[in-house]
């Protein structure tokens, strides 16, 4: 597979993907981190000095996996609105009762739909979210391997080969020697193979 084929494939795929977009109605919810001024009732989540740290850690980890239903893309962990506070409280109650993460998540999904989960569930159609990236990357690795192999055999441009068009080891034409001498003068190189000129200060004589 050559580069061009890969690029073309990616471009066509992107084109096809982009072509499906106009089918969607562009309506973005403009909800923000809102709140009410009235603070009715006790605050939803607090921990006192004697609260169980481990329990709190579990609760916080769960909060990071659930999305506030009315906020644009914020997890419970990030959101301060009333509904988030309520959800955090319910979540903790259920943890106290001994329910596990899966059951709690199912509870919220039943109420608010799949979009309440911060990542698509690992089931059904949504498995596609999780499977496609590793598959594409694996294919990419294979592709990369073949590309590198093909590059090794070399699709060398015969017109452009070498720098300035000369393939090393084959100075085409005798009068290159004069030019080579001129180059060496510019670079102030002496001919010995073990030259220890490692400093660019010698380059000041170069024009």
């Amino acid at each position: 597979m050559s580069y061009a084929v890969i690029i073309r494939t990616i471009s066509i795929a992107a084109l096809l993907l982009a072509a499906t977009l106009p089918l969607f109605d562009g309506a973005s919810a403009h909800a923000q981190t809102g709140d009410t001024t009235a603070n009715d009732g006790p605050p939803a989540i607090t921990i006192g000095p004697d609260q169980d740290r481990e329990f709190e850690k579990r609760a916080q980890s769960l909060e990071k996996q659930l999305i506030c239903p009315i906020c644009p893309g914020e997890t419970l962990d990030q959101s301060f609105v009333q509904i988030s506070q309520d959800m955090k409280r319910i979540l903790r109650e259920k943890l106290q009762e001994g329910q596990d993460e899966g059951q709690i998540k199912d509870f919220f999904v039943a109420r608010y739909g799949t979009s309440v989960l911060a990542a698509p569930p690992l089931s059904g159609f949504n498995l596609v979210t999780w499977i496609v990236p590793p598959v594409i990357i694996a294919l990419g690795v294979v592709g990369l391997f073949f590309v590198m192999r093909q590059m090794r055999r070399g699709s060398v441009n015969p017109v452009a080969a070498g720098i300035g068009g000369i393939i090393p080891g084959d100075p085409a034409g005798g009068d290159l020697d004069d030019y080579l001498a001129e180059v060496d003068r510019d670079l102030a190189i002496d001919d010995s193979p073990d030259s220890d000129q490692d400093d660019e200060t010698d380059r000041s004589s170069k024009a």
């Binding site: 015969p158 017109v159 452009a160 080969a161 070498g162 720098i163 300035g164 068009g165 000369i166 393939i167 090393p168 080891g169 100075p171 085409a172 034409g173 009068d175 290159l176 030019y179 080579l180 001129e182 180059v183 060496d184 510019d186 670079l187 190189i189 193979p193 073990d194 220890d196 000129q197 490692d198 400093d199 660019e200 380059r203 170069k206």
Partner: protein, 134 residues
Amino acid sequence: MPIAIGAIVAVISLIVIAIPFIRGSGAVLSARYTGEVERLTRLRSDLYDQVGQLQADHAANTVTDEDYQHQLLELRIGAAETIRQLDQLGYEDEPQDAPAYLTLESLEEEIAALRQAGSRRDSGTGGESESDDA
């Protein structure tokens, strides 16, 4: 008042745009020539840079002696070829001293000379594979 500002800006723009026609600027086709000259000059300069970096790497032992010799030869040959191509372009003066104006006849001669140089170049050398439609 705001509209006056807009009008002034419009007038200034018109004047600025018209000046080249009034004054008569340089021609466009010599761009190819100086483009090529500068490309070769820059290439030579880059190659000299790379020699310097190669020598620094060699002194720091990140390049083996064999690789050093091979790459040094490559770079020297490349720089030499660059100078040869500059010569073939008939280049003699420094571009910075060149006057700004050019007549159409001298341009046509220039293009013809470039074409001659292109056909006389040794086979296998890198040529500017430009399209002729510009």
